[in-house]
């Protein structure tokens, strides 16, 4: 069973390039959110102040009175926009980590249920590739041991064609060898 997992750019479970990519996207996302907030406030406050002193005075007083609701509504729009885009970012980017973890969980549940386990492989670009590699290596080692135990027992069975006493002695020897090998598991 060969490891079909791909290593990440840093060799670690989650690549540095992947982390930097998410940070960059978060930066752009938050900057766009603030940009939208700026645009809303610019749109509300950039109306020309027309008229003489009294008119301007009343316009400024009126704007001051509405400042709190204007800021509240703009902040709500900003929060909604930024939250939605960040949530979308989390879903569309973090699935590169969440997907392999979910896949490993399913494979481990299958393994525990006693069903036949196939080699684990992740999608191209997925993170945490070392998990698949390590799991495949473990299952491979178990299967190698299983093959060796069975080969030893079948070898002993072949000697049963000689005579009964040799057969029994060889079978007991094989059993002792299997038990010795199994004793290495801790």
């Amino acid at each position: 069973m060969n490891g079909t997992a791909r290593t990440t750019d840093s060799g670690g479970p989650i690549g540095h390039r992947y982390i930097l990519g998410i940070l960059l996207r978060l930066l752009i996302n938050f900057a766009l959110g603030v940009g939208v907030l700026y645009a809303i406030l610019f749109f509300v406050l950039s109306k020309p102040l027309a008229g003489e002193y009294a008119a301007v005075y009343h316009q400024l007083r009126g704007l001051a009175a509405y400042m709190r609701p204007v800021v509240t509504v703009s902040v709500l729009a900003y929060a909604l926009l930024a939250s939605l885009s960040t949530a979308a970012l989390c879903v569309y980017i973090l699935h590169r980590v969440a997907g392999p973890l979910y896949r490993m969980e399913r494979v481990l549940e299958e393994f525990r249920s006693g069903a036949a386990t196939r080699p684990v492989s992740f999608r191209h670009g997925d993170q945490a590739g070392q998990l698949a590699e390590a799991f495949n290596t473990w299952v491979g080692a178990l299967r190698q041991d299983r093959g060796r135990f069975l080969a030893r027992m079948e070898e002993a069975e072949r000697l049963c064609l000689v005579d009964e006493a040799t057969c029994r002695a060889e079978m007991e020897k094989a059993l002792r060898q299997v038990a010795e090998e199994l004793a290495r598991y801790r």
């Binding site: 998410i22 525990r112 080692a141 598991y185």
Partner: protein, 183 residues
């Protein structure tokens, strides 16, 4: 001969609510906290600036935006820094925690290949990784229990005193159990 067409499978992006949904909720909380702070501080400052400009009596500006432009820019810069920096720190913490957890699970699986099935993964942290650690520990513990039981049966059978007929039956049953290792 044409190659058989592979059935089109829809890409599933939203895999686990615990990891992706949890991260989205954390970032939303940061954005909401930043928005509330901005709304409270900027609302008050901008209102005060407009009132102060209204009573000044001399209006060189063409719009209200010219009055509040500088403090607004300052508050928006603070909002950006106040949301992006905690969100980045939070994300780096999550990534570090996930990396450490995945590393530990990987180490436990590699140790299993060297026949160490009892050292626990010891994964703590948030989201999905501790659950994966528990599953790996469970799988290793069950495998170890099964191997110990096979070993005990092999030792018993290798000992003297088992009648030939019973020996053969137990031998076959043991072979069957060995075939069940990592099917």
């Amino acid at each position: 001969m044409t190659r058989p067409q592979r059935p089109h499978r829809r890409k599933i992006r939203y895999v686990t609510p615990r990891l992706q949904g949890g991260a989205a909720l954390l970032f939303t909380a940061v954005i909401a906290a930043g928005g509330i702070a901005f709304g409270a501080l900027a609302g008050k400052v901008l209102r005060r600036m407009l009132l102060s400009a209204a009573v000044r009596g001399h209006y060189p500006m063409r719009s209200a935006f010219e009055i509040v432009r500088d403090p607004l820019a300052g508050h928006l810069a603070a909002l950006f820094a106040g949301t992006f920096l905690p969100a980045a720190a939070l994300f780096l913490f999550l990534a570090w925690s996930a990396r450490r957890g995945i590393d530990r699970v990987g180490q436990a699986l590699r140790a299993s290949a060297d026949r160490d099935l009892s050292t626990p993964t010891g994964v703590r942290g948030c989201a999905e990784i501790p659950r994966l650690g528990e599953l790996v520990d469970g799988a290793r513990a069950e495998t170890l229990a099964s191997l110990r039981s096979i070993r005990s049966e092999a030792e018993n059978l290798a000992g003297d005193g088992v009648p030939a007929e019973e020996f053969r039956l137990r031998w076959d049953a043991l072979k069957q159990r060995i075939r069940g290792i990592a099917p």
